[in-house]
Amino acid sequence: MSKLTRITAEVLRLPEEAIGDSLSFSETETWDSLSHMDLIATLEETFGVSLTAEEIVSMTDIAAIKRILGDKGADL
């Protein structure tokens, strides 16, 4: 299980099996604007990256999170 999966499951209070590329902000009850900020802060701390406001609002599903963190060289 990847670090990203573990973190996302913990912050969004979901089983790790539920974390897939298609999991999205708009279709996940526990992924609201507040938990999104919690997720962002946890990602920045864990992967040692800084995210811009534009990147934060673009992280609307797991695939997008992987792409943006991957572009920053994060070891997911």
Partner: protein, 249 residues
């Protein structure tokens, strides 16, 4: 957060607290934007402290506040902190049987006091927090509350408004903390300034001194030094710092 070089908005900057806080921040090397509806007061501040960015606006008007914060952001390029020193003291009993014409607390006064002390903080807070979030500025919001938030007899509106400010402080600290934005309230007790003397009178102030463990009124400089502490200490958030001589101990 180091204050030197930071862009800091001060609301109510033409008033007693606000003006002193703006001067203290300028003295610390901050770039200060002073907001107040008192244009003459801002002019006096500008003459006293050259370099301060002044903008007159009604801090209870949503559009006016948005325009003012946009103007500050445009001038400074970013906003690192906000100090909400806007407010007005108001005293009136809930029921006054001795006043045949107005036996209960005036509703218009209630709404005016809530707007001046609470809505203004909400409006400036949300506009500045948006700028800070979009810029990823890891700064602070400091709200000047009051020991009256604990419930002063004769101050229904003022006490309720300041209790609301304390609540906003805690809510915002939780919401904005993940973004690195801290939110702190400072609750001065009875400070030795014109506003306190005008609002309470000398007889009431003598009684207050007797009830205060340190047996004296506070000084504006003690509030200013607490503002600097709240801005500078990066691990303080979501709390109300009492500066009241032990009155609420």
């Amino acid at each position: 957060m180091e204050i030197a070089g930071k862009a800091i908005v001060v609301t109510g900057a033409a008033g007693g607290f606000g003006r002193a806080i703006a001067s203290a921040l300028l003295g610390g090397g901050a770039r200060v934007a002073a907001l107040d509806r008192d244009a003459d007061g801002l002019e006096a501040l500008a003459q006293q402290d050259a370099g301060v960015f002044c903008r007159a606006c009604d801090l209870t008007d949503p559009d006016g506040v948005k325009d003012a914060v946009d103007a500050v952001h445009g001038a400074f390029g970013r906003i690192d902190a906000l100090v909400n020193a806007v407010g007005m003291i108001h005293s009136a009993p809930l029921v006054n049987l001795m006043n045949r014409e107005q036996r209960t607390h005036d509703v218009a006064a209630w709404q005016t006091v809530l707007a001046a002390n609470l809505t203004s903080v909400f409006l400036t807070g949300k506009q500045v927090a948006e700028k800070m979030a979009l810029d990823r500025a890891k700064g602070a919001i400091v709200n000047i509350s009051s020991s009256s938030a604990g419930g002063n007899a004769g101050q229904s509106a003022y006490s309720a408004a300041k209790a609301g400010v304390n609540a906003l402080t805690k809510v915002w600290a939780k919401e904005l903390g993940p973004l690195g934005i801290r939110v702190v309230a400072i609750a001065p007790g009875f400070i030795d300034n014109d506003a306190t003397h005008d609002a309470l009178g000398e007889s009431a102030l003598r009684e207050i001194k007797r009830e205060t463990p340190l047996r004296r009124l506070g000084d504006v400089d003690q509030v200013c030094s607490t503002v600097l502490y709240a801005l500078e200490n990066d691990f303080v958030t979501g709390t109300v710092l009492e500066v009241d001589g032990g009155l609420r101990a």
